[in-house]
Point group: C3
Chain length 303, copies 3
């Protein structure tokens, strides 16, 4: 059976039931929500266009690096590559997934804001659906996930990090969802992703302010779990975290993870079209377009 994409799965609008009811295959065995495909085994380094997947043969952990200079902007192409890589890693039953960046200054600068500027409706819909897909693929990923945040992680960069189960971060960086600073209003599922990691009171204030946390502040509020001196140490800490699941049965772990995360994805999976419509309606308002223009002007000047 082919490896169904997140989008296929979700379009069936039964995902929520699948998440809840613990699917059984015809042999009465548990199956993960996203069917795994018989697939060429990963070994050594596989290069897709904009991501790199490296599997450690000893530990069985796959490291997924965003590799799209200059700042890993989440374009449609990068998001496509990331979803494919996540599915591939999941299908190949890696022991865990570490998300990091090939760029030592920026983890990911977030969504491609040019897609939000005077958008063509059809393309904006495709763009936002892809971002939903990416978040779902990472947030519900069946194997243990960790982020080695080795560069700045603003906006959607932070959303990707919070979709993982653990975060380590290098010093003197910024992480946070600063959407209100460029007039954007995030979706509820992005708020829930934030709230799955840091306390409600902190979330509200940070979202309203558009706060970017410095590494030390992020550690204080629990947005990151540990600080590492350098990228290798960050990767090592992620591997150590992934090893904490060694005594757990992998399928029971996956089902338990999804039960914990079901409240985060419930509304989105029940009404993906509604979230899409909200997004498109808001992005196409004069209010947002003016705010975005001013923000992009500001960025140009600061260069």
């Amino acid at each position: 059976m082919p490896c169904r994409s997140v989008r296929d799965c979700c379009s069936k609008s039964k995902v929520i039931i699948m998440l809840r009811n613990r699917l059984l295959d015809t042999a009465g065995r548990m199956t993960p929500i996203f069917q795994r495909q018989a697939h060429r085994p990963l070994s050594g380094i596989t290069k897709s266009k904009l991501t790199t997947v490296e599997v450690d043969d000893k530990s069985g952990i796959a490291t997924l690096s965003m590799n799209f200079p200059p700042v890993n902007t989440l374009t449609m192409e990068l998001m496509h590559d990331m979803i494919d890589s996540i599915n591939e890693i999941e299908c190949n039953k890696s022991r865990g997934l570490i998300l990091t960046s090939s760029n030592d200054k920026v983890f990911s600068a977030g969504l491609d804001l040019k897609e939000l500027l005077n958008p063509e409706r059809k393309r904006l819909e495709e763009f936002w659906t892809l971002f939903q897909d990416l978040w779902l693929a990472l947030h519900l990923c069946g194997i243990p996930t960790a982020a080695a945040v080795n560069g700045h992680a603003p906006a959607a960069g932070c959303v990707l990090a919070t979709a993982c189960e653990y975060r380590t971060m290098l010093p003197n960086l910024f992480i946070g969802i600063h959407a209100t600073r460029f007039s954007f209003v995030i979706s509820k599922w992005m708020m829930l992703s934030y709230q799955s990691v840091i306390p409600r009171r902190v979330v509200e204030r940070a979202l309203n302010q558009g706060k970017l946390f410095r590494t030390e502040e992020a550690l204080d509020v629990g947005l990151v779990d540990e600080v590492a001196c350098n990228k290798q140490e960050a990767l090592d800490k992620c591997a150590t975290f992934i090893a904490t699941f060694d005594k757990a049965n992998p399928v029971a772990r996956t089902l338990t993870k999804r039960m914990c995360r079901e409240p985060d994805v419930r509304d989105l999976l029940n009404d993906r079209a509604g979230d899409l419509r909200d997004c498109v309606d808001y992005v196409t308002t004069p209010l947002f377009q003016e705010g975005l223009c001013a923000h992009l002007e500001g960025l140009k000047k600061s260069k």
Copy 2:
């Protein structure tokens, strides 16, 4: 278009949709949930009967003082004045709202308990609806809000403080929802307001005990954010907090705030009549009336 009251808005029973769907006006621009009225500009000091609104011309921040001796008991009149003042401040696009008391010993002593003693049903309904209105006006207020808690804040006094986005408090005061001590069972939305600020485990225990937190305890659990030495310092800290939103787009900020707070108000806005009925049914039980009598007797003796 006139400035619709919270009650008008909510009676349309579509508020929940308005909160969620980000209203657009006919020009495609965002509009806040409560329509703003063209209104005389505030400057200097405006006195209504039981509240004082002072706008700092330099900072643009409005300070709303409860000014109803001896202890700012929330009577129908005071609640009316507060709702009007909040709407006025919101409509005049102040940069923020600071809630405080003209009385240096008591922030607010809470609801007028005499309204709960052998109540006439019609009047009790009016009283409780007004309290719902007041809480909604403050909890969903479009501009940044902060409370300078310069006196004791028991029961509904605490509920008002927790409806703000930030709290600073003077030393040696008490704050908390001690309803069970006078046999009252609070509404779910009051619990959610508490829970938006302090952890669930602390909320349950404090509500069950009827706990009043001393300033230092309140700081420890996060019920207040900072302690100030005197009222001026408390007001200054509130102003500093309000300034943290300077980089955020105001409309995006308002919509984000309401998204964060939507779970707190959802059930109330979906069924205000149900909350009202629960309250009236409970208040008119012999159990509560006996408990309230005993409590009021105790207060008399302690004077």
Copy 3:
């Protein structure tokens, strides 16, 4: 009127409404959710088969000891006795309930796993329903509850402790829900019980890992409230906790407690059959049966 069992109450499928709407009896007085029976007064020591109930005549607090050697495994018989004892203590209007163990090494080893091994469907249904009943009886118990965790509390042992309002624990013990280690996927209500005590982020990680917290770790994350040097000190701390409710009206306290806990029990009370079906479906999969076999083999070897 007879003391209705939790099961009777819940089968009426109106419990959720009862919880929310604050029941009134025909005289307009509040009544607790589970009707209390005229009952022989407890005094001194009452022995049922597998539990001991001791009421302190001075404090009015009842201590319920699990007394089923060797390790207080939750068999159908022990669960039956516990439910009866909880109902009896509640009906006799004790001032509080302390749950502890007669065994100084093990608080409770959790569910009787033999019931899950190659189960007969009918009996498994009865077993799981009884566990639901036990949790509901303790979680919604009308009087103040506290656990003196004087021995290890893995799995369902931990679930029982978290159903209480306060926990004190002796040093060098383990507590936690380690279900994934024996391939089990817990029900949502067990997750919610955990989450009512410790933060969401900690819950997800601990459940996924199947983590057993040492006493000191449990204190750090808030899973236990205090550490006691010995059993007597643990019991004393529980009694001190129960005394913190002295100023609260008992009925208002009960209704407030149930309002706080309503989100934890809502889904279960609305669909007990669904939770039962999920459990039976999962337990009877080859995946779980193989995982459980391996786990039981491991336990044998470690002896």
